[in-house]
Amino acid sequence: MSVDSMYQEIILDHYKNPHHKGLREPYDAQVHHLNPTCGDEITLRVSLDGENVADVSYDSEGCSISQASASVLTDLVIGRSVAHGQAAYDAFVELMQSKGQLEPDEDVLEDAVAFAGVSKYPARVKCALLAWMAWRDAVLQAAADVSGSAS
């Protein structure tokens, strides 16, 4: 097992030049998630437009894996349907639990397939999942708010 399988070029690129970073208005829900064992943090906002994700913005601090993962996540979900984002979430969580045994589906996960190697390092899986957990939490809150105010 070599560390190069974790630090893929794609991951290092997203780490050095994160996409969609920074907190933006407007938003429907904001969450703050923390990884208590290592101090990684993310504040993440979701803005919905009907069934679609209008924007995901975030401010975060943490290791290359957690930072790159947030960047990849936003690429996958912004401008697409909530359902698509949900499918990507499910696929990513499954990949992270796979201990390196799963061949990821590039159609669903795009750049996130680069994280397959991370799943072999149990201590780093939670780094990769931090932004995704925040995203799921925020999108559930946003959807509840939007449906709540519409009815």
Partner: protein, 415 residues
């Protein structure tokens, strides 16, 4: 602290390393282990492992229960370990040594039994391990007392200018760390004790990182209680120590209830066994005590002055080498003065997780994270640090491997 330079001669690193089987292993084929995480837990010499095995193979029985031969041997081993620990820290009697599960339990015990209430203050510092912070947070919340703390200076020391403001007539307890696990700082016990005594406060010292690395004399410290933990001083996990003068242990109420800690029990109520048994409810960690006793023998053989001198020199060397790396910032005192061998640092903007992962690739074990001292990390504006820490078996080669590893980390991330 006076260091006897001649004491150094007693440390023969090559011989000592042979006693620690784990130091010979490879992390992966061809990649030898470089263990620099002794502040998290120390490695164990064969003598400790042998003592525990011998206990289980030949003497295993419950202690203080029964008159058969094994029970008496087990009791002798357990009480013998208590006597060794008492001598090791210069307690006036083995009865002042209470075995707990670890430091955390000893500190929780103290936070439960020391008297304070509404209107009283308990004082800690901003560099405490969570184990010497959270128990006091819980206890002050429960009793209606107020928790206050002494801040830190930019170079990782207690801000003694805070003393008169924070420690006042209302202060009932001052609890602080002897040697910081995050910053390495050795705190000025005398100044703190003098201030606490001037207002009549009790003093608790968290010696988790000092007893393993320097001679600690509880009578010279002049405090009311100390806590330390077996697994950081070459002993096993599962056993810790609370020391307090007998008078205090007699005066304070019990903590956990159960077998062994009682004198007379009726359905209506009970009376308490004499210390230390009053604070040892249930079957104690007997094999662990056998191991800790062997660890204390080992440290005593080498000599704590020799340990201290060796680690002091290694720390000075490590600080100098580390600071020759461009972009590396020490979090804590930058020189070896009044400092132990736990060295936290930031490497440019690189996250400690990434640093630690790549060092592991070279077999180098360091700790990354907030080291259970999150408030101090926040104080220095870092979410986490990378920490290298040594013990008596650590060598300059270990430090050289770390420095070389860090240079390669920088190359990998183009930092």
């Amino acid at each position: 602290m006076t260091l006897d330079p001649a004491a150094k001669l007693a440390i023969d690193i090559a011989r000592i390393r042979k006693d620690f089987p784990i130091l010979d292993r490879e992390v992966r084929p061809g990649v030898p282990l470089v263990y620099l995480d002794s502040a998290a837990t120390s490695q164990k010499p064969a003598q400790v492992l042998d003592a525990m095995r011998d206990y289980y193979e030949r003497h295993n029985a419950n202690v203080h229960r029964g008159i058969h031969t094994l029970a008496e041997e087990a009791t002798a081993i357990y009480e013998g370990a208590r006597a060794k620990v008492a001598t090791f820290v210069n307690a006036s009697s083995p009865s002042e040594i209470v075995f707990t599960k670890n430091s955390s339990e000893a500190l929780n015990l103290l936070a439960h039994v020391l008297p304070f209430g509404p209107g009283d203050d308990v004082v800690v510092t901003e560099m405490e391990h969570h184990s010497n912070l959270v128990p006091w947070q819980l206890a002050t919340q429960r009793t209606g007392a107020t928790l206050k703390w002494i801040g830190l200076t930019d170079d990782g020391r207690l801000d003694l200018d805070d003393l008169d403001r924070v420690i006042t007539e209302r202060t009932k307890v001052v609890s602080f760390v002897h040697q910081s696990n995050l910053l390495g700082t050795i705190n000025p016990v005398d100044a703190m004790v003098a201030k606490a005594r001037s207002v009549g406060a009790r003093v608790v010292l968290d010696c988790s990182q000092s007893v393993p690395h320097m001679g600690v004399d509880v009578q010279a410290l002049g405090v009311d209680a100390i806590a330390f933990t077996g697994h950081k001083m070459l002993g096993p996990t599962g056993i810790g120590v609370l020391w307090a003068p007998l008078a205090r242990l007699e005066e304070w109420p019990p903590f956990l209830g159960g077998g062994e800690m009682i004198d007379e029990v009726t359905m209506a109520g009970s009376t308490w066994a004499v210390p230390p048994h009053k604070y040892e409810a249930g079957t104690p960690p007997i094999a662990e005590a056998a191991g800790l006793g062997a660890a204390v023998d080992y440290l005593t053989d080498v000599g704590m002055d020799a340990v201290r001198v060796h680690e002091h020199e290694l720390t000075a060397y490590a600080l100098e080498q580390l600071q020759s790396i461009e972009g590396l910032r020490i979090i804590g005192p930058p020189t070896a003065e009044m400092r132990g061998g736990a060295i936290s640092f930031a490497l440019g903007d690189l996250h400690p997780h990434d640093v630690g992962q790549l060092l592991d690739e070279h077999g180098i074990a360091v700790r990354v994270g907030h080291h259970c001292a999150r408030p101090a990390c926040l104080r220095y504006g870092v979410p986490a640090t990378t920490r290298a820490s040594v013990h008596l078996y650590s060598s300059t080669e270990d430090i050289d491997a770390l420095v070389e590893g860090l240079r390669q980390v920088k190359v990998f991330f183009g930092a």
